[in-house]
Amino acid sequence: MLTKRIIPCLDVTLDEEGGTVVKGIEFVDLRKAGDPVELAKRYNEQGADELVFLDITASHEGRGTMVKVIERTADEVFIPLTVGGGINSIEDIRQILRAGADKVSINTAAVKNPELIKESSEIFGAQCIVTAIDCKRNLDVENNPDKTIIELEDGTPAWYEVVIYGGRQPTGIDAVQWAKKVEELGSGEILLTSMDRDGTYDGFDIPITKKLSEELEIPIIASGGVGNPEHMYEGFTKGKADAALAASIFHFGKYTVNDVKEHLKEKNIPVRL
């Protein structure tokens, strides 16, 4: 049976000396807590199904060191690796895949230039093109008759607006319509982050996760808001997600990937243990 995927996400950046580190890591027992390759190995041992590296420097020199990190990781960790952050062109994608990544995640650049999804999917295959969609709830439904209205947990109608540049800029684009479009353009997967939940530890944004999972044929990775293993369970059951991504609950050593999977297994969610 196909299992639900648990995906730790690592925010990779440069330190003052130009070396790569992972931000926000608080493992006490790890020799080199900041080394992305060491962390990738750690999560692999814990049973992570895939890994996501987010290049939060995304500058020219950052990209160069990121490529080295991908190479070292791909040489030692034999599970799928997705790389995102600042990917703008076919050349960026080629460079990252050649370094050993299996997928790239495209966010702002896809909104600005949707053709990038189509073109890259045709060249590299849909399976390696993940579109990251960041969205935010918008309660103004009256002035937005063309948007997809979704009922929130308390029954309030809302639509979800795509935001870019790390959530700083609203676009006026309807997240459900955008998701359908990127599927058509050849995206193989969607990484969905709700800005209303990101960093809250309140759990995934279920209404939008469920809506996209039901409307689309490609897999949905739920992201943003996980505070405990039960939130993962809700993401898979109520949200109908295919995979769940989380950062802090793993980075702080509060739960291991295995803890989450044990919890899910007890509740009859198929996981790889």
């Binding site: 049976m1 196909l2 299992t3 639900k4 995927r5 692999n44 199904d49 190479e71 791909a74 040489d75 030692e76 034999f78 599970i79 799928p80 895949l97 050649r98 370094a99 050993g100 990544a101 299996d102 045709e122 590299f124 295959g125 849909a126 399976q127 390696c128 193989g188 997967e189 044929e217 490609i218 897999p219 295919d242 995979a243 790889r272």
Partner: protein, 202 residues
């Protein structure tokens, strides 16, 4: 040291396959040179991307591949590399494959299930073969594909369930050509063990 050639036809990420084989103690060359291929102890036909484009690139090596397979030495096709070993595929209009194993490549039917079939799924071993020595029934391996292989039971080594039961690993009649739909190079320790078994066969 066993010399393994990964056939390079311009597509895909070959780094992980290479590292996986090196991990298994092989000397790995990435090449499209017919002489290198013929002289290899083992050959890998890798693949991601679209069937038609990949076949177009591999077509020039068809006689080299046929000659290599004829020699009885082992060859492993991975993912699209496996699909190319079949007679035909319906991806992008019916296209001829290498016809090393009789059968066809079909698209997953529309259903409630997501396509591509992406993630870790468990395997059922339907026929013993040295490449799966020490791999327990029910092991999890990593898949990512929208098309699947339909072949005879005789040519199936492993089956997997995703809406329909499909061949997750295949073999030719002579036993030296093997294909896996999943990615051993992305399937953790299980996958590394399979690559190790392949190197041991070479």
């Amino acid at each position: 040291m066993k010399k393994i050639v990964i056939i390079d036809y311009g597509l895909g990420n070959l780094r992980s396959v290479r590292k996986g084989l090196e991990h298994a103690g092989a000397d790995v060359i990435i090449s499209s040179d017919p002489e290198e291929i013929k002289n290899a102890d083992g050959v890998i036909l890798p693949g991601v991307g679209a069937f038609r484009d990949a076949m177009k690139n591999v077509e020039v090596l068809r006689s080299t591949i046929d000659e290599y397979v004829e020699s009885g030495k082992p060859m492993l096709g991975i993912c699209l590399g496996q699909q190319m070993m079949l007679s035909t595929s319906e991806e992008g209009g019916v296209t001829e494959g290498l016809d090393l194993v009789k059968g066809q490549v079909l698209r997953f039917p529309h259903s409630e299930l997501k396509v591509p079939h992406m993630g870790w799924n468990s395997i059922k071993i339907t026929q013993e073969h040295p490449i799966f020595d020490g791999i327990p029934e029910g092991s999890y391996v990593y898949f990512v594909h929208s098309y699947y292989v339909d072949t005879s039971d005789r040519n199936t080594l492993i089956s997997c369930e995703y809406g329909t039961e499909f061949a997750a690993a295949i073999v030719n009649d002579a036993g030296n050509v093997i294909g896996t739909q999943f990615h051993p190079e992305k399937s953790g320790d299980t996958g590394l063990k399979i690559l190790e078994n392949f190197v041991a066969m070479c």
